[in-house]
Amino acid sequence: MAELAYWEAIRRAHDEEMARDKMVIAMGEDIGVAGGTYKATSGLYEKYGEERVIDTPISENSYTGIGIGAAMIGMRPVIEIMSINFALLALDTIVNAAAKIRYMSGGQLEVPIVVRTPGGTAHQLAAQHSARLARMFMSTSGLRVVTPRGPLDAYGMLKSAIRSNDPVIIIEHEQMYNMKEEIPDEEYFRPLEGAEIVREGSDITLIGYNYSVHLCLEAAKKLEADGISAEVIDLRSLKPIDRETIRKSVEKTHNVVIAEEDEAPVGVGSEIITGINEDCFFALDSQPVRVHAADVPVPYNATLEKAAIPNADDVYQGALKALGKI
């Protein structure tokens, strides 16, 4: 076991997969000579050369499209898009091409690309650099969308994503790249599907994904001090969603809070609550609570930014509300 930062875990996964399979290449802005905005590809350019670690111009839609074209004939491109805000420029090739080519061709072709991109608020990056947008991708048939919450999954899920034959969107987070975690020295894989119970509890279920899992874990500690036992679920995959794990937990705890860093309308929480309504409505003792961002573009001002984005205390308060304690 060694402690690795999130970015190091990603780099290790790239490195091992590129060493194993010549068809694996990395593409993105500043990922090669410069080593990557988040260092997630550092050292790879020196090791694998410019043909396999490709510094692209600032042309998100088309370099993603080039990755898709290459993937259609057997390559395995891992594309870094510097921010999920910029991934909006690539929605055409991701949503209209990558997600649909297998289907339109009646199963003749597949598009095994991986698109890695961080979504989320960091430190006063303001409205055009703070989008989360997971909900946009999770609503698209033909994509897989995963949200590794730490280095263990960041490494293991990237390895799986590269080997998977489907287009996979990996949503990372600006605030997680330096997060550390012990991970095994030997190679391992973490499956792309399935939510994970990261903390067991019996009174209430707190559901998070990506960064908000950490808010849920912090809230669970506070609840424990109040004598409330919270179970925490990391969704891990937003497309598809593991409804079975959620159902089992809700049938055990009968209360639920969903924590999302994104704005609420038409979001992850809406989808989770719909699933709960359909799968285990009668197991609920209280109305599900959504903890989410204010429905505004993310403000630059630090005080306003803080007010707009949910924190661990908001999740804690949400749990108390669900349990009728406030």
């Binding site: 010549k22 068809m23 290449i25 043909e51 490709i54 692209t56 111009p57 042309s59 839609n61 088309s62 370099y63 993603t64 499209g65 080039i66 990755g67 898709i68 074209g69 290459a70 993937a71 259609m72 004939i73 057997g74 390559m75 055409d92 090739t93 209209n96 091409a97 080519i101 297998r102 289907y103 339109m104 061709s105 009646g106 199963g107 003749q108 072709l109 597949e110 048939s141 033909g142 897989r144 390895k159 799986s160 994503a161 080997r163 998977s164 034959n165 489907d166 894989f189 973490r190 499956p191 792309l192 599907e193 399935g194 939510a195 994970e196 119970i197 891990r236 593991d242 794990t245």
Partner: protein
């Protein structure tokens, strides 16, 4: 090119025209749904360019990709006309099992990598196919056919730039028919000569040629394909052509004059080529008549029959082909909680 090949080329173009005109009828009978974009008038472009490429050899073919006006490109690359027609009928025996339809013809077994409805989207996909060829070290190239209108998309500019800086083996064929649906090129495009849009801007080799005379097209295409295949990088080939039908089936053509149409009809690629072959005594009027009869019989008795008799896809199969239907549980899971 010997006389047999010349006859074959003429036959192919007549076949393509008749195939498209027959889809028009089937559309009127509501056998074909959705949007249908016919290629009539532009046959010399796909036929001539692809005649110079590697086609009909299965997985050894060059890679071909295009927009929504795609039936003929698919067939010339090697797709079975019966399967293309069955796809238009939405049948399970169609080349995409009825999932794609007219605008999304694919035949991976012949490296025909699809028709795409999003104007301009195939540019980067083509460059990606070329990148794959280069990476694997095969001497295949990618050929991308798109219209003049597509050149106003961002993907055009982004892709021309990347294709050039990465020296990708890709041939862009611009089928300049003067219109994007009902908008004349002079009203949409600052530089009407499309080949000029890449030469100084992206330092790309490019040229413009008549696209109605197939001999012309073949000569230009041969030069362009040789250039790309030799490893010199991308090439942009602009071919001047005209579509005889409306943009799609719902087009009343109110945006162009009958005089303009008549001028172009004088240069019908099939007429030009058959006149040439008649003059050179490669064949006779009677040969052409016989050819046409044979083609119509084939279309009716083989192709339409195949499409008509093909089974409907099963509703139970609705969710197939969305993601990998047999995923490896090592990568996909699901994760087990104890």
């Amino acid at each position: 090119m010997d006389n047999a090949d010349k006859k074959r080329l003429l036959r192919e173009m007549i076949f393509y025209r008749r195939f498209e005109e027959r889809t028009f009828e089937a559309y009127m009978e509501r056998k074909i749904g959705g949007f249908l974009h016919l290629y009539s008038g532009q046959e010399a472009v796909a036929t001539g360019v692809l005649e110079m490429a590697v086609t009909g050899q299965g997985k050894d073919n060059d890679y071909v990709i295009t927009g929504y006006r795609d039936h003929i490109h698919a067939i010339k690359t090697g797709a079975s006309p019966s399967e293309v027609m069955a796809e238009l009928y939405g049948k399970e025996n169609g080349c995409c099992k009825g999932r794609g339809g007219s605008m999304h013809i694919f035949d991976a077994s012949q490296n025909f990598m699809g028709g795409y409805a999003l104007v301009g989207q195939p540019f980067p996909l083509a460059a990606g196919l070329a990148m794959g060829c280069k990476h694997k070290g095969t001497d295949q190239i990618a050929i991308c056919f798109l219209g003049d209108g597509a050149n106003n998309q961002g993907t055009f500019h982004e892709t021309m730039n990347m294709a050039k800086i990465w020296n990708l083996p890709v041939l862009f064929v611009c089928e300049n028919n003067g219109y994007a649906i009902g908008t004349h090129i002079n009203r949409s495009t600052a530089q009407p000569d499309q080949y000029k849009r890449v030469d100084t801007a992206y330092c790309m080799e490019s040229s413009q040629h008549d696209g109605m005379d197939i001999d012309n097209v073949m000569a230009a295409a041969k030069e362009a394909i040789d250039y790309v295949r030799s490893g010199k990088g991308p090439y942009f080939l602009e071919l001047m052509t005209y579509r005889f039908r409306g943009h799609s089936m719902s087009d009343s053509k109110g945006y162009r004059t009958r005089e303009e149409e008549k001028e172009w009809e004088k240069r019908d690629p099939i007429k030009l080529y058959s006149d040439k072959l008649l003059k050179a005594k490669v064949l006779t009027e009677a040969d052409i008549k016989a050819m046409e009869k044979e083609i119509d019989d084939e279309i009716e008795n083989v192709i339409i029959k195949f499409a008509e008799e093909g089974p409907e896809p099963k509703v139970e199969d609705l969710n197939k082909y969305v993601l990998d239907d047999n995923p490896d549980p090592r990568w996909i899971g699901p994760l087990q909680n104890n």
